[in-house]
């Protein structure tokens, strides 16, 4: 039987790796992969905790999580594809339209002052 500590350490490593990927990589696909890693870390924690307390809720949560992640991934991949098609973007930095608005506001303020 695997002790709870080991499972949690693995889960934490997975989550941190995923987070690091999300933060450091700029490609949209890699960001999605990082997210998947984080989900798996969370799922592993749930399974390990369920096993430790002899409760099936952890497993149930993981199965639901897999289903939801699959669905989410579908939507996310479509968005990535659409982003590529519309803006020709593969990196997240290229998708900064909100910033445009901020620039406009900045210009307006500059005019009045």
């Amino acid at each position: 039987m695997i002790p709870l500590t080991h499972s949690l350490v693995i889960a934490a490593l997975l989550f941190t790796l995923g987070l690091a990927v999300v933060l450091l990589r700029r490609e949209l696909l890699f960001v999605l992969m990082g997210l998947e890693l984080m989900f798996n870390g969370v799922a592993l924690t749930a399974v390990a905790a369920g096993q430790h307390w002899g409760n099936a809720d952890g497993q149930v949560l993981t199965i639901f999580l897999m289903a939801v992640t699959a669905a989410e991934l579908v939507v996310a991949l479509i968005l990535v594809w659409l982003a590529f098609q519309h803006f020709g973007a593969v990196r997240v930095d290229e998708l900064s339209r909100l910033r445009e608005d901020a620039k406009l506001k900045g210009n307006a303020r500059g005019d009045t002052s």
Binding site: L19, V22, L23, L24, R26, V31, V92, D93, L95, S96, R97, L98, R99, E100, A102, G106, R109, S113
Partner: protein, 647 residues
Amino acid sequence: MSQWLWLIPGSPLLGALIIALLGERIQRRHFAIVASCATAGAFLAVLLAWLMGAASHPLQQTLYTWVAVGDWRPTIGFTLDRLALVMVSVVSGVGLLIHLYSMAFMAGEKDQRRYYFFLNLFLSGMLILVLADNLLLLYLGWELVGLCSFALIGFWYRDPVRAAAGRKAFTVTRVGDTALAIGIFLLFSQFHELSLSALLTSATAQWEQGSTLATLTALLILGGAVGKSAQLPLQVWLPDAMAGPSPVSALIHAATMVTAGVYLIARTHPLFELAPQVQWLVAAIGTLTIVYGASAALAQTDFKRVLAYSTISQIGYMFLALGCGAYALALFHLTTHAFFKALLFLSAGAVIRAGGDEHDIHRLGDLGRHPSLARWSFLIGAASLAALPFITAGFYSKDAILAATWAAPAGPLLWAFAAVGALLTGGYIFRAYLLVFHGSGPRDSTASLPRSMALPLLILAALSITAGFIELPEGWPGPHLWSAWLEDELGLAAMPPTGAVHRLQVIGALLPLAGIALALVLVRRERAGQPLPLTTFLRSGWGFDALYRVALVQPYQALARSLGRVVEARIIEGGLSGLARGFWTVARGCRYWVEHGTLERGLGILISGLRFGHVMLNATQNGMLSRYALAMAAGALTLLGYWIWGG
């Protein structure tokens, strides 16, 4: 009938309101009709009250609670007992006749609306005063009457003399009104109650006879009565008040308003019985005023001023009766006086108008051609005023007062003064009659008066003769209806023994005749150019006006002037301009230091701070997903760390 009691004061009030509010829509000649109908309404309500038995048991109506403060709830409530019944009958009856008379007398007047408005308002004020069941409402009526008398005396206000007469009446009566108000406050502070019946009952129960409080209260009420009834020393306003139109003089200064003081004392007589010294003072003021008024009337040359001084003197008789405890007799004289004095004023008004607004009795005598009805009615009124024995009402009422005086403390002294007054009364009124109607001018004109002027004169003349027969003198066979009827409410005065009464009656009957003889002598001397000694002194009303001018008016004016020079010019105005300069300096300082310095710089700092914050915050809004994610992760980590180690 009780629920219709409000109609008595309400009807003239309604008339006044209609005239005031809808006056634009009423034609000028219809004002008189509206006002007379309103007064007739009041008179009919009084008649109805008689028929419904108000004479045997009092009626009471409470309209609504006027003020409600804690447990103190003065009401608008009316009580019609016998005393009030006498007063409302006289006021509404004589008031109605005077309204009728005014119709013709004031027909040529432009400002009918104001005249009839105040006339009606005056009547309602007087009726409220008389019917009020608490002192607060009584005071309301009291002040309403004072206000209307001011407005009516100064009715022809474009003439500064007449306007000043109105002001004088208002100011002088105010002295008395203030005393009355303080008296009411005093009663309220003692009993926490203003209802008349409750107040008098508890005062009788709680105050000892002759106690300081009772004396003080009675004195203050007496002050109010003296002011309104023109007794010494506040009598100075009444002679000047003759500046008003004659019907106003008849209404206000003969029949109604000046009797308000008599009514007030009769109404609060239990208080006066608690303070015997004050009650005696009432009698003393009365006697002095009798002699004062009668002697001053002897020397007057203005027709209406003769009557004014006569009114002062006659009300002195009522005060004398009140002071002797003969309240019923005071009311009796009040009633007969209202009839014959209104008659005298109205006929004098007719004579003055026929003579082209001439007031001087000598010149009126030279003019002649007086309306003959006015002459005869004046003669009847004069006979009644002089108390010509057996045939006139004045004889019965005045004689009863003289008899009652004898039994009072220091009675013979009071009686002697009153008897001198009675002698002088015959003298002055027949002097005026002889000078005006038997002067060197041509005989009376036969031109008849307008019907609405003639009718009141006839009715009042009839009443001046017959009103006395309801109460024959003590010890005579015949009716004694008046004192028997009022005995329950007002009690009976102590009368001297029968033998003394008969002797007094003989003297009382001879005095007017002696007075007429005096008048004949006076007129002969005056025609011969030998005026009475002391004429100027008497004509000026014993110099009271001059005395008050020196003693009160001039010091007051000097004080006002010096206050104007010193306090107003130096202190108030100097202070104000200093204050203004100070404020100006402060404002300029504020402008330099606060506005240009602190405020603007502060705003500048605030703005640049905000701008810096904007730039800093703007940096976070770079649209870079990984930066946002980093911020979220950092935040989550911080919270987590706080939760694990910090919490």
